[in-house]
Symmetry: C2
Subunit: 497 residues, 2 copies
């Protein structure tokens, strides 16, 4: 049997175990650290395995935004004067996820997110009582609260009052995930978790009834058999770095996007869980990113496809922009801006100015991309209504409406095969990570493909299909928020068996 | 163990078998009948199980169009003066399927389709040497060859010379599938296949190495254990009738489309194959249908979304129309036609005329749907270019371009929540069936999720991800063509073990 086929090993075939604990956690990112900590605090003996030589996973590489609210507001939201009822939070999340959303996970998360924030704070992660109201991706100054989704767009305001929900450690610059992971690691170690790095989980072990009772881990090039008396928690991330899985489940995305995550987002846990009887959902959905902001003033521009037509409200969140962009012919798209609002998008490295012109006609002629008269017509319609503060076709919010009637104008090429991301220099296309994985109950129990659950097995984070289900409805902070929130629940659930 | 969990039964657990054959085929639709026939002709003892009380499956309910060509042309294409090189056929199929296509299956199919047609003829299925050149779905007169895809659209003409490839039994009216199934059934019986109806396959049986060596079938409410000395072929159809699977894999489609197929398209074979070690691909893709024709003159109209904007070349095949329609806001869409071309689409049962008007302005005002001036602008742009015989934005072919400048006009509501299909009266939304399933080699061997193949297991038809992979690239006849073509190969492959 190959060492990398992830098949289940039968308990009967094992002569003796090399180690034993109550709960075994596979993967030390945000989800795994949270699961291990909660399991240990509940009195379980816990071993936490991590394939890399240190903790962090993709959470460690992130800005550690968490999308939190509800219960009237988190302590940070309240301190800054924002009210956010649980029902308001649920309304936003349900609109965001549509038919793909899991109503039970949404409700549990919305009800518990404010408490979850207190838990994060209790680890010693610093938050500053300051809000960033700019249209930003992450504060590069030290504010800790900001709008990180589609809250202020008219379409979402129809269903939920806009509240900033992006909670980010106070920190100058991006990558606050390191601060969170360091705090979490200290807590995990202090709680007595046995953390083992350079350890790749190769197989789950199940008894005759299919209950997961241990795992096989590769350490120092040796296979070691470890018994779990209460449960195994899979928290090993998504599969965006697994080229074969990406081609299989996301053939379009594979063609034009750039994987974003840690190198071990290889889908190991998804395979382990499936082999044990789990199944996957939402495998065709991935986060993609089109950061036309900051600077926010670029939002005054209009995005058009190669037909010279708009296709989205430009004030949408970057993942929603990318989703609609991905549906345009050949993923070709352009941002038209006037001189007042012309700038270089901060998160896009290479970017061509296709054309400039004192008039739209001149610019269109120089660009030579659009059907005759198409861009001119689009701009005329946009201008006519923008002057009156409305955008009847796409409902961009009034504060971002400014008629394009004073040249010169510039046309930026944001086509997927042209743009490259600043944080992944040299790559091509929008950044992406997966949003599909094992189907789980809100408790983290892994649902069995032919009914019931896989006894003894739990999962959280991007190894599962969790709270965030689509780029169309994503907000920054949904993934780390979900991973840590449901990671904690999974850890407690495993420990309670 | 539940009788419906589709889990694999171990050979070791079976005391004695109730029956035995060389090849066991599960499902008597087009794929299963073809597989059984070829296996029997290759000398194998074959049992063919069918859950229903008679043969047919979804092929039996279809018009039995097969999408065939290549090798310079099928005998029917050639007799009618059409030339179709294998490379031309491949170019069309590759363009149609894009990144989702399986290049090996495409090539094998394109190389073998003309021979396959001779095999179908040899069963006694009648074809008439007459071509229908109208834009039609299926001939209601007795012609046997027609255009059934996107062949004559400019976008496809860029890559492949247009040739009619829809081969349909000569028959007045729809549902020629019955003729094919009757002929196939005669051949199957004559070849000595043991056909057993009212027989539901519940489990596969595998030996210690994972090789499939038999199955468990429920007959007269009894489980019977049957040994396969050479192999088991799964041909039990897709999963469009399985509400749970549809929600899991096609949540959007589940919301707005109407399942089309036979009642046993429940995904049984997909579950059996997965339990034995197979895996699925393309589960998020389904055929959907927007039959704005016949009558073909409706193609002179323009399709618009609720923004009053066009979104597709209206001369595209009905599945491509539906694909692009499904991407429009709330799946709301409208067909604007002038009085000369106004009619009721033949395959749409209920259909509201939202508005009429002597001018576009009048009609738009009466409709009260579109943003101010939006429809007027769309029509103005369309007319300006249609007069010159071009459609710069969507490239509808010149023969379908006619400026909308002579009222009165009518606006038909084709929104997914409004339209109902004539052939499924009382239902809502476009007809749909699934295009995802087990991943197989062109030989029908089922690929194992962790590498290699599942020994002893074969599959064909909609239980697999076969030739057709998307509604965007579908042509009528791709599914029955694929099912019977690869069904035959799978049957021969199983028999040769």
């Amino acid at each position: 049997m190959s060492q990398t086929d992830f098949s289940v090993i039968s308990l009967a075939s094992i002569a003796s175990f090399d180690a034993e604990a109550d709960v075994l956690v596979c993967g030390f990112g945000g989800a795994g650290g949270s699961a291990a900590l909660e399991a240990a605090k509940a009195g379980a003996r816990v071993i936490l395995y991590e394939r890399a030589s240190g903790a962090g996973g993709s959470t460690g590489l992130s800005s550690c935004e968490m999308y939190l609210g509800g219960s009237g507001g988190t302590s940070l939201q309240k301190a800054l004067g924002f009210e956010d009822s649980t029902e308001n939070f649920i309304a936003y999340l349900e609109k965001a996820m549509g038919v793909r959303g899991d109503p039970e996970k949404i409700r549990l998360y919305a009800e518990g997110a404010a408490d979850h924030f207190e838990w994060v704070r209790s680890l010693g992660v610093p938050y500053k009582e300051a809000v960033m109201l700019e249209r930003e991706v992450v504060p590069l100054t030290d504010e800790s609260l900001l709008f990180t989704g589609n809250e202020r767009t008219l379409e979402f305001k129809d269903v939920a009052a806009p509240v900033p929900r992006g909670h980010v450690p106070s920190h100058e610059g991006d990558f606050g995930g390191r601060m969170f992971i360091d705090a979490l690691t200290s807590a995990v170690v202090e709680a007595g978790v046995d953390v083992q790095y350079d350890s790749r989980v190769m197989h789950l072990i199940a008894d005759e009834a299919g209950r997961v009772v241990g795992l096989v881990v590769k350490q120092d090039n040796q296979l070691r058999y470890v018994k779990a008396s209460r449960g195994v928690v899979l928290t090993s991330g998504g599969f965006i770095m697994n080229d074969e899985m990406r081609k299989r489940y996301l053939p379009d995305n594979h063609k034009w996007a750039t994987p974003y995550g840690n190198p071990f987002d290889m889908g190991d846990g998804i395979k382990l869980g499936q082999a044990a009887g789990g199944y996957t959902i939402n495998m065709d959905e991935a986060f993609v990113s089109l950061p036309i902001y900051p600077p926010s003033k670029l939002t005054f521009g209009i995005l058009v496809n190669q037909r010279g037509e708009r296709f989205v409200n430009e004030d949408a969140y970057l993942a929603r922009l990318a989703h609609y962009a991905s549906l345009q012919p050949n993923q070709q798209l352009y941002l038209l801006v006037d001189a007042d609002n012309f700038d270089h998008p901060m998160y896009i490295e290479r970017l061509d100015v296709v054309a400039t012109g004192d008039t739209i006609e001149e610019l269109a002629a120089e660009a030579g991309i659009f059907p005759a008269g198409a861009l001119e017509q689009t701009v005329a319609y946009f201008n006519q209504h923008a002057k009156q503060g409305v955008d009847p076709k796409f409902r961009k919010a009034p504060e971002w409406l400014s008629p394009l009637e004073k040249g010169p104008y510039g046309l930026l090429d944001l086509s997927f095969d042209k743009q490259t991301a600043v944080i992944m220099p040299g790559t091509k296309g929008p950044l992406t990570f997966t949003l599909g994985g094992l189907d789980t109950l809100p408790t983290g129990e892994v649902k069995r493909w032919n009914g019931g659950i896989v006894e003894g097995l739990y999962a959280a984070g991007r190894v599962t299909a969790g709270l965030p289900r689509s780029s169309e409805g994503y907000s920054s902070g949904m993934s780390v928020g979900d991973a840590t929130f449901f990671g904690r629940i999974a850890g407690r659930q495993a420990a309670s068996q």
